[in-house]
Symmetry: C2
């Protein structure tokens, strides 16, 4: 038995003020169901990933809201793991199929963020951090700025290395019609953008976004040109940065990645294409190292030398990443699986990676307290 | 391979103003781990059930908060399904063991409600309802009052039948030293208590509570006097009452129960003891019918005639139920599993049901959009 991605559905990511949570959920779910060629009644379980609905609108119980929309009565679960909600929900959906109790499951991530003020959303997002970080007045740009400064000091990573992540991901976003930002930018544009938390400036940061993404996972004997999930791993670390041995790595990513490579029986070198969690530019640099794509401390140079740009040896974040495609929190981890699915099926259009056979999706919650890593193969 | 409950831990339920979310989580988890005789490092996954932390305090990412406390790095999941969060988390934990990817899992439910005003918590709880119900200004007592009125009209259920549920559950609570309310009450006390949503008065309603409950589930060959989970089922229905065919039954309960009885290969008559979701007295009456313990429409009489009191043919809510033991939302479904575990192991002390071999736990989210049913056997 194999677990395959047999259907995908995604909305445009961006400021979608004319669409409700339910509109977005329905749009993504309907498309995934249609593409999978199953009927809603054949869905055995729904996993709904969301972080902020309770905090911002007071609406909970979202899993049942989705089964309500689809007029089905199967089990429904609402899964939250901060910005890793989508990846973690995918992991649980995968386990539910392995359990033998479900054949077809819908995994859907939805987030509505832009109906609220930046202050409201920024405060909501701090729900991913530790209580002492919240009480100290830290923000997520601040937390990642601490990591960036430490990385720059220890490994000679430069401000331009950080900026290059944003330039590359905006370039990829320009090739993705669902991306929130489809404009290319220059390194100067990043360097000259307003400071957010030094060294991070505006263009080092992923935006606030609305959007939904859905996949149908299915237990199959024959994958029929659908990518198979060959590894699904989640790991955790302390929620607060202060308690970690090192802040120039994300231990949860390293544990999840090692576990995932072992499950799939492959090495980092085998990965042809990956979506990684670039909530801030420094996060993508650290991810390159933690995922084993380059030696420790070399993430900045690895990206700056073009290896991870379309056409390079290991294209990263062809969707545009969180940075340019947008970051509707609960949807992000599922969007990553969809991008890898499209790449492996040769359906990534202008951003297609040639002969991609093995892809990886890497989703982070908070400043790295949760990491989810999936490997897909075709 | 069997899935057994090898450890349990529960805090007192009540107004615990001197204990934080983390204090409660640590207390329940530590006890469950100690009782299970495993080390924290042997835990393969953590499932954390909570509904209101994001809404009330802005704190999310609770699964990783728990692994942080325990200083472990395993996968951690935060599960929300309104008041069914605990039952639903138990279901997912069970599936994760069946998947073969986990041997020992910690399921923990925690809720802090009494640090907030009743208005804040009541508003938070409406996150379990549908958007139109929220906009119409309905409250949960109001929703269950609609069901109560319909049931009274259709089946001649009386105001005294409702009150008898509260009297019985307070009696059971008086035998449980962890219960929020350990005082016995009379039927007059219920009838004379202030109206909340007619016909429901104050003593028809479960309280707001703080508390935590934790269990360790484990894949075992030999259960060694630990109860085995022989069925775990979740079902859903429309979130809003208005869209249901009937409001004198909870369809999700019926579907989950039928599925559970089938999994365990038993009938309702085989159940010796059950914990059911009595958020309001009418809910326990409807549960008796939906779970097949008595014919449709006879739930009120079934309770009023003493069948479900300790010493009766099928004792229900020996813990005191949500009504008297308290209802710290995320913890409730797990407390139910703990009560059944204690009953089956013969460790329920003053409230022990003689020769209990098969028990059932029934947990509802919202006004019945989610239902989780577990069957345990020894």
């Amino acid at each position: 038995m194999k677990v395959a991605v047999i259907g995908t559905g995604i909305t445009k990511f961006g400021e979608l003020w004319d669409k409700s949570f339910y509109d977005l959920a329905e749009e993504a779910a309907s498309h995934a169901i249609l593409e999978s060629k199953i009927e809603p009644g054949q869905i055995d379980a729904v996993f709904c990933a969301n972080m902020l609905s309770g905090n911002l609108t007071g609406q909970n119980h979202l899993g049942a809201q989705v089964t309500s929309i689809l007029k089905i009565h199967c089990p429904a679960y609402t899964i939250e793991a901060a910005c890793a909600s989508g990846g973690v929900a995918t992991n649980l959906a995968y386990l539910s199929i392995l359990s033998g109790k479900a054949k077809n499951v819908l995994v859907i991530g939805v987030e509505k963020m832009t109906d609220f003020t930046n202050a409201e959303v920024a405060s909501g997002l701090m729900g991913a951090a530790s209580e002492d970080e919240r009480q100290a007045g830290l923000t997520f740009p601040g937390l990642y700025a601490l990591m960036a400064n430490a990385h720059m000091q220890k490994f000679k990573t430069t401000r331009r290395d950080l900026a290059n992540v944003a330039v590359k991901n905006h370039y990829h976003g320009s090739l993705n019609e669902n991306a929130q930002f489809q404009n290319r930018i220059t390194i100067e544009k990043v360097l000259e953008s307003p400071p957010v938390a030094t060294p991070l400036t505006l263009f080092d940061c992923s935006p606030m976004s609305d959007g939904a993404a859905a996949i149908i996972l299915s237990a199959v004997e024959n994958t029929n040109n659908s990518p198979q999930i060959t590894a699904s791993a989640v790991a955790t670390d302390t929620v607060g940065l202060a308690k970690r041995k090192s802040i120039t790595e994300i231990l949860a990513t390293k544990i999840a990645a090692q576990n995932a490579y072992k499950q799939a029986g492959i090495t980092p070198a085998d990965i042809n294409v990956a979506e990684v969690h670039d909530c801030f530019t420094i996060a993508e640099i650290i991810a390159m190292e933690d995922l084993g794509f380059c030696p420790k401390g070399r993430g900045g140079k690895y990206i700056s030398n073009g290896s991870t740009k379309l056409g390079g040896s290991k294209p990263i974040n062809t969707s545009g990443g969180l940075k340019a495609c947008g970051h509707p929190v609960g949807a992000t981890g599922i969007k990553q699986i969809i991008e890898i699915t499209k790449q492996l099926k040769g359906e990534a259009e202008k951003r297609q990676v040639k002969s991609a056979k093995i892809g990886l999706a890497h989703n982070i919650g908070g400043s790295g307290a949760t990491a989810a890593v999936h490997i897909l193969q075709i």
